[in-house]
């Protein structure tokens, strides 16, 4: 019984991994990565590895998507600051 649950979980992990790769929008990919991390942690529990599963839950489902989101946020902040600076400088040029 447990074997079939493990086999089904393995196939689900394979499908989720492919889904994470095929998600091209970076913000959506962060959510898919979080779900993939949780599935992997469940798989580690089936593999009788509670230490690794605890690590995977805290890191793969929380810290890793957090890092990616921080990088995306910082790049978007830069974009907005750059376009604001360009907008203000171009408007000053017109008032000259």
């Amino acid at each position: 019984m447990m074997i079939w649950f493990g086999a089904g979980l393995l196939l689900l992990i394979g499908a989720t991994g492919a889904a994470v790769v095929c998600t091209r929008n970076v913000t959506n990919q962060v959510l898919a990565l979080g779900f993939y991390g949780l599935l992997l942690a469940l798989m580690f529990f089936v593999f009788q590895a509670p230490d690794v599963a605890l690590s995977q839950i805290t890191v793969g489902a929380v810290a890793l998507p957090l890092m990616v989101m921080l990088a995306i946020a910082r790049m978007r902040f830069r974009d907005r600051a750059r376009s604001a600076a360009q907008g203000s400088s171009s408007s000053e040029g017109r008032h000259d």
Partner: protein, 250 residues
């Protein structure tokens, strides 16, 4: 190389890899028939030799403690690299004209749940870190759990509190102390003529929190270092975004 050529090269190489891998994997012993001697040998003696019930942490911090020392220094160096790459530069971009909206749109329910969640997270992280030698846990997991407490402050409270917590020099001191502490615990037995990273502290009784000698100490050092690393990385990434809310400081 054009994109089509790159993709077709990947598919050819991937096909060859898959074929060779399938040939190798089908000739492995069946999944679930582990017969390696090393794991069984350690599982049989570790409880008696080290007075510890969590074999994985005993291997991590004692039998293969040198590997974990290297991994901890990888963490340390990576945080060093992040802080150097994303440091403030001369002639950096001017801050945008609009101030960052501080705690705008945060409902009272979110802010009310912050303190209880922070307390539960901190206590749980300390519990996991201190009981690493008895149950699943240890320094690495505890460090990440404690670091998410700081992120909770940023998400639920205003950025002022987060900035006060994480820009303190104590975070960097804690990280250096954790990384150096592990090395010092390794060097200390050398002064007594014992091997490097030898478990030289009295071992105590199995099942106590204060058992297993240096394993608990090393676990605590690693926990300190991982916490400080993650908090520092989060602060470095958010530095520019938070700085927009406090334009009078520099």
């Amino acid at each position: 190389m054009t994109e089509r050529a790159r993709n077709s090269l990947f598919f050819i190489a991937g096909g060859v890899l898959l074929f060779l891998y399938a040939y190798a994997a089908l000739n492995l012993p069946a999944w679930g028939s582990y017969r390696g001697p090393y794991g069984d040998a350690i599982a049989r003696v570790a409880v008696y030799e080290r007075h510890v019930t969590d074999i994985v942490n005993a291997i991590n911090y004692d039998y293969r403690g040198f590997d974990t020392l290297g991994e901890e220094f990888i963490l340390f160096t990576a945080v060093l690299g992040v802080s150097m790459l994303l440091r403030k530069e001369e002639g950096a971009l001017k801050r945008p004209a609009s101030r960052l909206q501080d705690d705008a749109g945060l409902s009272a329910a979110v802010r009310a749940v912050n303190l209880p969640a922070l307390l539960v997270t901190t206590v749980f992280g300390l519990y996991i870190g201190l009981h690493g030698q008895l149950t699943p846990g240890g320094g690495f997991q505890a460090g990440v759990i404690l670091a998410t407490g700081a992120v909770l402050v940023y998400v639920c409270e205003n950025t002022g509190a987060f900035r006060r917590i994480t820009s303190h020099a104590l975070v960097e001191i804690t990280e250096a102390f954790g990384a150096g502490g592990y090395a010092i615990i390794g060097i200390a037995p050398l002064l007594a003529g014992l091997p490097f990273l030898c478990n030289f502290i009295p071992l105590g009784t199995t099942g106590d929190v204060f058992s297993s000698g240096t394993i608990a100490l090393i676990s605590a050092c690693v926990g300190l270092e991982v916490t400080a690393s993650f908090v520092l990385v989060v602060y470095i990434y958010l530095q520019e975004i938070i700085a927009g809310a406090f334009p009078e400081e520099d």
